[in-house]
Symmetry: C2
Subunit: 383 residues, 2 copies
């Protein structure tokens, strides 16, 4: 069991109509808010209007920036930050899924640091503070609502990766499962894969953390029991709530305590697919993760065996991968590159980008230092 | 799944030599510290000296109050608070187990509120703030290091109960498993029972919180796997670490999310035994909890069955109680009043005190509103 610090200051408000608590929370942060969101869905599911009503009632002036993309790009962050600086906002409020909340985190740093988003991502700054961040979550997936991580994409440099800094913990996050009821089936499935991928990535970190192992199995079992049910009953509040809370716990630190880092290589591999083919994040993971695990059996086989025992009562590394893959398929996610229309003739460009961006999860203790990326991509094609 | 707020601002520093981070943390809270502790053990296990060294190095003036009792009494709190007020301390630092940290929490409120400890406990105050609280934990048991609860005893009024207020979250807690290596076998066992009792009490709260159920089973399984091993290997760092972290998670909120309250009646029943016979807290619980569960089978039988399935693969309510009781015995804890030398002739005084103090966990939704306390005490005697 490695030394660790457990600290998560985000206040999560979870359940029906919890956005009713947003106005009061925002009033404690100032008088002017930058309200950031994406495109249509937040207008349809009510979250945008509910948030605005709360801010109006609390007498908070609203500056809007909309149009954040599903794979969020740094240009939007810079434009929104410029607007926030110009209008001298006191806080940043995100309404949406992971892309919007991640963008809001970087925007909140850019405004206090008076710098560009890519400077933050590239760790050219060590921010002392950020504007208060509030999140109204509309998609169960990334866990960003209760952590200090943000992922951004740069189409100019063809890079996509994550950045973490403690100033980026949201001050308040509002999780009303009802807002996720309008999420279409494919994105519901992607979210489920994303949360399971986060659990697995922590799980493959270094260190004997028995309680974290049990919690990890708990979150995956929750997703495996209720994820497929939710795909069949997308309007069920309780199922939406279970998956939403599982996703939050998958990446709020809980599963990593006692372990050094995690191994976030699968995320890194998946990001390259998103860069090349605009593959949704969850879909990139359901392809990348099985391939990574197969490639890694020599190094993480014992962990896959333990996981198999905890999840399926079957301590077989290969069996564990197979069952997880079946589960990804069960929630309608692609598990091979062919499933997203990418053919073997595209292999070289994938490997080239992975090599250029040194896909290894930016983890100094990473298990994958001698990764054979070509073999991994072959496994992504394998029948 | 009930609405809930998940918020725990305590920063936990866990592992070997983490007290090395205390000086810097304390320096951010001021220049003068009230250092609170009990009797001998913190002098022997090094925690007292390490803490003092850190404060000295950080240039922080130390005012000491020692002699907090294992079942902490309000007189000590009032005396320590008076000292803190007189010396105008900036923070309260507790070095010890649950009794010392709980006392420090109430002291920190008394100093800012300029009031007596019992006024706080009786909820005659609604504190706006407390002095910053820091905890150096030397006993794995109560979970107080990462929550906002304190339990105090009043020998004049013969009352003992818990009080919770968000201002009482410790700002920093330092958990070095090495400090618990000198804890004697009996108190190691009491701590293990205490942590399991906390899990169970959350578990019997109202609401369908599937992930919290899984986490609850995880913590109990951790205690059942490593608790008995620790009793046999009291010097094992890793076992100490596992039990310490399990105890923290048993009562830091995690297991209650999605549920209304918990049912803390067993704690309340146990407190009466401590008041009458100075029974150590954990020992009072290993007697009170099995009796409570047996009495409650008509109401919580379905929960005991689910728990039995999750823990033992056996969905039998009676079987679950029996196995938990065996586990309490395995960690050398009493499970009947006879085991602590209390005879049937003392039954009436126990029932009388339970009735007078209205043992029901102070929970408005409590399952036990129509509790037959006499029957419960009979079950505490039963062969």
């Amino acid at each position: 069991m490695e030394n660790f610090i457990a600290h998560n200051p985000t206040k999560v408000h979870f359940g029906k109509d919890v956005v009713g608590q947003l106005g009061e929370a925002a009033a404690q942060c100032g008088k002017k808010a930058l309200l950031v969101y994406g495109r249509g869905s937040v207008l349809r599911n009510g979250s945008y209007q509910d948030t605005k009503d709360q801010l109006d009632k609390a007498g908070i002036e609203i500056i809007e920036y909309s149009g954040i993309k599903p794979n969020p790009i740094v240009e939007d962050v810079d434009k929104a930050a410029a607007l926030g600086m110009e209008k001298e906002v006191d806080m940043v409020i995100a309404v949406g899924g992971g892309s919007v909340i991640d963008s809001a985190k970087i925007i909140a740093v850019c405004i206090t640091e008076q710098c560009s988003g890519w400077d933050v991502m590239k760790e050219l700054r060590d921010p002392v503070r950020a504007l208060p961040i509030m999140a109204v979550l509309t998609l169960a997936a990334t866990g960003t609502e209760m952590n200090a991580v943000a992922v951004l994409q740069n189409n100019q440099t063809m890079e996509k990766f994550g950045y973490r800094h403690p100033v980026m913990f949201p001050k308040h996050s509002f999780l009303d499962p009802n807002y996720t009821r309008s999420v279409p089936a494919n994105h519901t499935g992607y979210g489920i894969v994303d949360l399971v991928a986060h659990v697995l990535e922590s799980y493959f970190g270094y260190g004997d953390a028995s309680l974290s192992d049990r919690f990890a199995a708990s979150v995956i079992l929750e997703a495996m029991e209720y994820g497929p049910q939710l795909m069949r009953n997308p309007d069920d509040y309780l199922l939406r709530a279970r998956i939403m809370w599982a996703a939050t716990n998958a990446l709020n630190g809980l599963l990593s305590y006692g372990r050094l880092n995690g191994d976030f290589t699968s995320h890194s591999l998946g990001h390259q697919l998103s860069l090349l083919y605009d593959t949704p994040h969850g879909a990139s993971l359901s392809i990348a993760f099985p391939a990574w695990m197969k490639h890694m059996i020599p190094k993480v086989g014992h962990r896959l065996e333990k996981l198999g025992r905890d999840l399926f009562g079957d301590p077989s590394a290969g069996g564990t991968i197979k069952r997880l893959e079946s589960f990804f398929s069960e929630v309608s996610c692609p598990v091979r590159l062919g499933d997203i229309g990418v053919g073997p003739d595209q292999k070289d460009e994938i490997v080239a980008l992975m090599n250029r961006n040194e896909c290894n999860g930016k983890n100094p203790d990473n298990l994958l230092n001698d990764l054979d990326r070509e073999q991994i991509v072959d496994l992504m094609f394998e029948a």
